[in-house]
């Protein structure tokens, strides 16, 4: 992608029953949003091991988006609450590592909210674009002299 305008790389983890379906709905409704996100499907946001999100950042994602069912609507009853607990603790850690809040988001998007998915995508891309590249996997040059 041309660096003229920075195109952020977003890795999105969507649950199979709500947010992934919302993304499908956005498609069948031909809604348009920027092509920056790469979606990885899991059955439930509760499956999301913090290692996945850390891995995504480490491998060069400029932003990570988690999409799950609204509280109370989880296809597996409470998986999204487990996700919520991990998300907050992980968000603190990620922040301590120097990654800005807007790069790491959890959004509840139900199967019928194609329009909401679109809005979130647009908003996330814009916010991350504004923050600029993260490029975690770029080699750090080590100068040992002091």
């Amino acid at each position: 992608m041309s660096e003229a305008v920075f195109e952020p790389r977003i890795v999105a983890f969507f649950c199979n029953w709500c947010t992934y379906l919302a993304a499908d709905l956005a498609g069948t409704s031909r809604m348009k949003y920027p092509p920056n996100a790469r979606v990885i499907r899991v059955m439930c946001s509760g499956r999301l091991d913090p290692q996945f999100m850390l891995k995504a950042f480490a491998d060069g994602a400029d932003g990570v988006l988690i999409g799950g069912c609204h509280p109370g609507d989880c296809h597996y009853q409470e998986g999204n609450y487990k996700c919520l607990r991990r998300f907050h603790l992980l968000k603190w850690v990620v922040k301590e590592m120097g990654i800005e809040d807007d790069r790491f988001r959890l959004e509840w998007i139900s199967a019928s909210e194609g329009d909401r998915l679109r809005t979130v995508m647009i908003d996330m891309v814009e916010k991350v674009r504004a923050l600029g590249p993260l490029h975690w996997n770029a080699p750090v040059e080590e100068v040992a002299v002091s």
Binding site: D49, Y81, L84, H88, W92, V93, M97, V140, V143, V145
Partner: protein, 319 residues
């Protein structure tokens, strides 16, 4: 003739050396069995002597400590050349260890703290270490200091790992025995059991099947029950995520496991995994309540990456 063995220390506290000494009487068996060609903490050898050795002439080099200076890097490469087997000895060599926490900062930050801000420092002129210094005609040099601390395998190829801060003498003894018997496992193995500490925990039976933590406590805040699972007391015991093999010494001492043995072989990022387990136990579905429960965990990143920051997915803080 006896196999040559080398012990070397990089960025470490010396505790690992103690572990060797802690072999006590059995150290004599070791000495009897092997020929120690390098052990700076105990015997005097010069780098030149080692350089003079034939490549691969050392049977095994036990290197403890993380890599944070150019000198340590040089020694690591040197020993890699000379030794057939390199064993990362202890948490610092294996994962970066406590020195690895410096990756939350960088050289400038570390110097700032150590040579200027620390209360015990008197340094009005703000003199900082330099790699070369000229003083009436003479030039003195110091090793360079890296921005980022690395584990041993991030600098050289490592054959085996002995975990622990410090490792138990038992693990060392076992390793040496295996070495002598030529019975070492597959390259890259961590020479300790591959299950989590809970398996050996003397208190495991007191842990309920449905643990739910509504408030995290810190050791000084409560009177710790000698027999009850520490997590059930609201204490941040990292045993469930930490490799066993230490004999649960901290637990015996009525203290939480802080994770010095690192993760099991199935886990890539110790901190990420342990925080997942801990957060999952937070006893609420209400966002604000969840936040206030988790807020009871002091310095999450420092706590979960206490020994493993340099080998974590993110490796260091972005500055």
């Amino acid at each position: 003739m006896k196999p040559k063995v080398a012990f070397y220390w990089c960025a470490s506290c010396g505790g690992c050396e103690e572990a060797v000494v802690d072999l006590a009487e059995s150290i004599l068996d070791v000495v009897a069995a092997v020929d120690i060609v390098l052990w700076p903490v105990a015997l005097d050898f010069k780098k030149a002597d080692v350089e003079a050795m034939e490549d691969g002439s050392i049977a095994a080099a036990f290197i403890n400590g993380a890599i944070r200076t150019t000198e340590q890097e040089e020694w690591a490469h040197l020993l890699r050349r000379k030794a057939q087997t390199v064993i990362a000895f202890g948490a610092c060599a294996q994962m970066g260890g406590i020195p690895g926490l410096a990756n939350f900062s960088n050289r400038a930050g570390v110097f700032q703290t150590v040579y200027q801000e620390s209360p015990s420092t008197v340094n009005a002129e703000g003199v900082l270490p330099e790699t070369t210094h000229r003083d009436n005609g003479h030039t003195v040099t110091l090793p360079g200091f890296f921005d980022t601390v690395q584990a041993l395998h991030q600098v050289i190829d490592v054959d085996y790992y002995i975990p622990g801060c410090p490792p138990t003498p038992q693990l060392l003894a076992d390793a040496v025995t295996a070495l002598l018997a030529g019975k070492l496992p597959e390259k890259g193995t961590v020479l300790a059991p591959d299950q989590a500490l809970c398996l050996d925990c003397p208190r495991k039976d007191t842990k309920p099947e449905r643990l739910a933590i509504s408030e995290f406590k810190r050791p000084h805040q409560i009177l710790i029950d000698q027999d009850k699972c520490l997590l059930t007391q609201g204490l941040l015991c990292l045993g469930p995520a930490t490799r066993s093999g230490c004999g649960a010494r901290c637990i015996e001492g009525n203290m939480c496991c802080t994770g010095c043995f690192g993760p099991t072989s199935r886990v890539r990022d110790y901190g990420g995994k342990v925080l997942s387990a801990i957060a999952s136990a937070a006893d609420s579905n209400d966002e604000d309540q969840i936040l206030s429960i988790l807020a009871g965990i002091p310095d999450p990143a420092g706590t979960f990456y206490r020994y493993s920051l340099p080998v974590s997915e993110l490796q260091r803080k972005r500055l």
